[in-house]
Amino acid sequence: MEGIKMSSSKSIMSTHIFSTDHKTIGKQFLFLGIFFLLFGGFQALLIRWQLAYPEQPVPWWLLGFIINGEAGMITPDVYNQLFTMHGTIMIFWAITPLLIGAFGNFLIPLQIGAKDMAFPTLNMLSFWTFFLSGVVLLSAYFLPTGAASGGWTSYPPLSLPAGGIPGLGQAFWTLSITLMGVATMMGAINYVITVIRLRAPGMTYFRMPLSVWGLWLTSILNVIFVPVIAAGLIMLLIDQLLGTQFFLAGRLAAGGGGDPLLFQHVFWIFGHPEVYILILPVWGIVSELLSVFSRKPAFGAKVTVICMSTIVVLSSIVWGHHMYTTGMSPLLGKTFMFLTLLISIPSSIFFFNWLATLWRGSLHFDPPMLHTMAVIWVFAIGGLTGLYNATVTADIYLHDTMFVVGHFHYTMAASVLFGGYAAIAHWYPRMFGRMLNPLLSKIHFWGTFITINLVFFNMMVTGYAGQHRRLYYPGEFEFLQPLADMNIFITIMAFFLGAFQILFLYNFIHSMLKGKVAENNPWKANTLEWTMDYPIPHGNFSTIPQVVNGPHEYSNPNIKDADWVCQTVKIEGDS
């Protein structure tokens, strides 16, 4: 008979470090993700400093002394390293572990009623490979020539030795992303199979909480598209190290030569789904939390699921919208524009469902709910601005400007970050047995919400005014000089934004040690993860629960004296 081996040894090594318990691994991912989030955020602040005060050395409170440029000034190559590593770290080492690594691990088994992941050892290996990849990534900073500086897209030939970036930084970048991809693949196999195989009896696909749906669909995208980028990175890596010529062409290639466009295709075949990989967990979590805090079933949950699945399918065939200015053929340009715009149909449908969930609910504005509602706000802006980019003609102007940067920070940085904060606030009591301090959480929320909008909206404004991205010193151009004030304003707001994140960090750590001890089900939620006592033992459920309800039976008139009921409890009078 198949079964899951759970070690009974109690040493620190096996319970905290090389643990195969999905909850521990989830927490490990969480800490790593928060570390990288702060690291990437710090780099963002340095980027902003340079954009606003290009001629001044970085002040001590931004750790100016670690910048080893001339007199603490950020030099062009340092600037390029900053945004390259910022983009890379945020996408692959902050958001991925935070949402997929941490909450994927923590939530999937608990919410579907499983004792652990399908392959616990693989799960542990996934974390440690991930960790290793992070070490490789950061160790590039110790190279004499510094880390990668070819942008997070790393387009060849710039990212090849022939492209003029000295040293091994680019190769470290490629290698670390490849390792990260391996870790992600291991995780993805685990999540997909766990959901297929280990759902508790009665937990049909449509009785799974929407958060599990989001994570599962994300994993499916990972399964399909991480291998694609892995292949691309292997080709890039041997181009960098062995001197093959996949992505070299023209004068730089000796004898024949490849095609740099191939890399762009491979990158975006993966890269576009990647952005949905990042946001699908958030969509799921938001759909779920809206229901909990409105005390009302998620409106049209099935339709939401179908919409998210449709987006999964559509996302894989729209990659060309990142390449409109490469000289694409009219046929492909039109096809990609049409397909891209199709995505707005399912998006607006589930968006409507979110709003309809609030309608006639009974809204409780606890911190998780605040962050969730913020997602609605920022994702509406981020998603709708995607439509400009999808339009071929508008994108010819907007491509590679700060407008695009604003668009993707709204969708990715703002929506995904708020989604992550909502998830942390919501499941914190389950992870650490204590509550986050609500007052600090609320201050953090409002501070973040206001400043993040001022930062990212104004980025779009500068982009529309013509400022292109990856620009060390915008003042170099006369037509950008009027934007100097705006850039300073954005930067100041970004500093406030950073300050509020420190507040979050304080709250996160302080509450872990001294916070109010949480009840078992503080939010009165239906799903299975709230049914056991804290700390949740290795193996989660002493007996596998029998599920009889969907996850959203809030305010069901058949429930007496409560507005919720656990998924395992039969509701009298319900068919």
Partner: protein, 210 residues
């Protein structure tokens, strides 16, 4: 502490969890190979010229290699067939044959590579006839060399990991870990091995024959 867990068997019949995992991995690996092969084809379409099949690469030798992999696939599946009938001896015998097949495959490939890398006058003439410079055929020999080496090297690494994987399985078999109702791991390893064969069939056609 071993705990049996109820499985959701709908849709996938009696396929075990491990097997589903391996299938998923195979799909992923197939996509990786697919990307490399599609990339190679794309480059080939846009390349100015491309050496005629067989003008540089040794087709008969590689055809023998293909045959070898087919045989080892056959012995692999026979190993499974033996254990189903609880034939431990047969299992070990066939597994050993399979591993040997893989090792010989690698040996031939290494010989082919070393031949290309050492170069020589004859190879130089072949290359010149195909419009490529130099007397060695290296990964840096134009885009043709890049595509050839990347594809075959990636496949070769798979064979290597397959050989290691099967050696572990063999050592388990020697300890009599498999029985007629416990051979899941063997079957999973087999899937991986057959997949390597399957990919080679494609690589052989695309790189060597077309």
């Amino acid at each position: 502490m071993d705990q049996a867990i109820p499985m959701n068997k709908t849709f996938f019949g009696n396929a075990t969890t491990g097997k589903l995992g391996m299938w998923l991995f195979i799909v992923m690996d197939g996509l990786t190979f697919g990307t490399i092969i599609i990339g190679g084809l794309g480059l080939r379409i846009s390349a100015a010229s491309w050496p005629v099949a067989g003008s540089i690469l040794n087709v008969p030798l590689t055809a023998f290699n293909t045959f070898l992999l087919i045989c080892s696939s056959f012995t692999m599946v026979m190993a499974l067939n033996s254990i189903v009938k609880d034939d431990q001896k047969g299992l070990i015998k066939y597994l050993a044959f399979t591993i040997a097949g893989g090792v010989i495959f690698l040996g031939i490939q290494a010989w082919e590579y070393s031949h290309f890398i050492m170069g020589g006058e004859h190879l130089g003439n072949l290359l010149a006839a195909a419009g490529l410079p130099g007397s060695q055929f290296l990964p840096t020999t134009g885009i043709y060399g890049s595509v050839f080496y990347a594809t075959t090297m990636f496949h070769g690494l798979h064979v290597l990991s397959g050989v290691i994987y099967l050696s572990v399985i063999l050592s388990m078999a020697l300890k009599q870990k498999f029985t007629s109702n416990n051979y899941d791991r063997l079957e999973i390893a087999g899937l991986f091995w057959h997949f390597i064969d399957l990919v080679w069939i494609l690589v052989f056609t695309v790189i060597y024959l077309i």
